[in-house]
Symmetry: C2
Subunit: 289 residues, 2 copies
Amino acid sequence: MKTTIDCIPCLVRQSIEAARFISDDENFQKKLIENIMQIIAKPDFTKSPPAMAQVIHKEIRKISGIADPYKTVKDKFNELARSILEELRDRISSSPQPLHTAVKLAVAGNIIDSGVRSELSESDVKKSIENVFSEPVKGDINEFCRQVEQAEKILYLADNAGEIFFDRLLLEKLHHPGLTVAVRGYPVLNDATMDDAVSAGIDQINTIISNGSDAPGTILEDCSEEFIDHFKNADLIISKGQGNYETLSNVKKNIYFLFKVKCPLTADHAGLPLGSNAVLQSTHFTVKV
Amino acid sequence: MKTTIDCIPCLVRQSIEAARFISDDENFQKKLIENIMQIIAKPDFTKSPPAMAQVIHKEIRKISGIADPYKTVKDKFNELARSILEELRDRISSSPQPLHTAVKLAVAGNIIDSGVRSELSESDVKKSIENVFSEPVKGDINEFCRQVEQAEKILYLADNAGEIFFDRLLLEKLHHPGLTVAVRGYPVLNDATMDDAVSAGIDQINTIISNGSDAPGTILEDCSEEFIDHFKNADLIISKGQGNYETLSNVKKNIYFLFKVKCPLTADHAGLPLGSNAVLQSTHFTVKV
C-alpha cells in the first residue's frame, strides 16, 4: 500500500500524541510538531504509510532524546492484557473450537494500536473481544488452521504491546515446533519489541527474533539478514496488524493477515468493511522476495 | 481562540476535501496538498483557526484558479434547506413558543458546516433538528429574546450556505426593523456570501451587507469599514457558527453566539460538551473594539 493524501492527517495526529507522551509542556509540543511538519509536508507517495511513520517517529525520538515515547502506553496495555489473560485462556479452553477461539482473540487483540488510537480503555478492549465473537470473521479460519498444520516453518510477525498477550494464547494453541516469532528491532509507536514479547512469556513457547527495523510494519529492505532468512524459508507467514498488512500485502509469499480493519484506506485496499475482523490470505502476488 | 497543534489535522482534512471538490485527478490533488502543506507546516499559533484557514483556502483558490471550490456543495445544501423550509416554518408557527423554536432551528442549521464535515446527508440535518428539541439548549433563550426586543440596532453574522435558510426563519420571527445581516465578502469553505443570502430571500426581510473578508469567521481587522461601522454601532451582535465564535469570543461587545459545538477545542473553550446546542452570551470582554 502507498501513502495517500488521506494518510497525512493521521500521521499528524500520531505525532501530536507522541509529543504529548513526551512532555506536558505546550511550547515543547508546538516546537516538536513544527519540526515534524517539515517531514510530513513532503510526503513520499511512493512509500507505504509505515515507511513514512518510520521516518517521522525516528525524528521525534532524535529531537526529544527519548528512546521510547510509548513506554508508559506499552506498559499500560501489557498490564491490561496480562490482567485478563487467565480469563481469556479459560474462554479458549472451554469453547467448542479452542483453536478458532484463539485465532479470533488474536484478531480482537489488534484493537490495541497506537497508530490508530492511543486512548483505549479496558472497556474498548473488551468490546473488541465481544465483537470478534458476535460478528462473522472475514476469512476462512478452517483453511488457516489447515495451512498451519501443514507448514514446517512458520514466521509469526507480532504487532503491538498488549496485543502480544493475545498472540501468546494463540501460540500456546498452535503449539508449533517450527514457529518463530518476530518483533520490531527498536521501539516505534506501541509496537512490540523483544522486552514486550519476553514480558508476555512468548520465549517459553517459541523462539523470538528481532526484525532489526524500527518501522511500524515490515519493510523487508530495512530488516536484518537473520529476519530475511526466516522470512524466505518460512512456508507460511502469520502477519498481525495493519502496519504489517500495509507493508506486506503486495509481497509474493504465503501470508495470512490477522488484523482488525481500522482505517478506511486499508478497508478499501483489502475490500473489507471498516471494523472487520480479518483472517485474510495474501492474494496480491506482485513482488518477488 | 488561538490555533493549536490539534487544529493541524483538521486544516489538512479541510484542504483534502477542497482538493477533491476541485478535481478528481489524484495527481492534481497530491500536488495541491503538497503546496498547501508548506503553509500548514508553519502554523501561526498566535492566530485563530479561521485566520489559518483563510490563508490556506486563499492559496487553494489561487493555485487551482477556481474562485469557489465549494459552489456545488453550497448549492446542494441550499437546495436541501429550501426543500424543508415550509415544513420548518409550519413547525415554528404551530409550536407553543414560535420564537424559541425559531432560535433552536437556527442553532440546528449550524450542522451544515464544511469546516467540520462536508459529507452531510439530509438525514444528518434532520437528526440535528430533532436533537435541538430533544436536548436542553445551553444558554438562556428567554434572555436572548429579551435583549433582541430591547436592542435598537442588531448585527446578525451569518455563517454557512444551507444554514442561511434556517437563519431566514429566525429573521422572519425576530421581525426587527433595526437588524442588518452580514455575510462573507468572498467565497471560503461553504460560508454564505451575498448570493446565498439573496437565494434564501433574506433581502426580503432585512438589509444584507458584506463583511468584505474571505475568512471563515469574523476577523475584525480584515473586515470592511462599512461592516466595522455596523459592528461598532450595534447594541447586540447575533453571531452564528463556530468560525464566528472562534474569532469573536474575546471581543468586548454584547454578542450572542448561536452554534452547534462541533470541535473538542471549541467545546473546551466554551465550557460546553461536544455536540451541545449553544445560545451563549459573550463573557470574555478582553479586547476593545
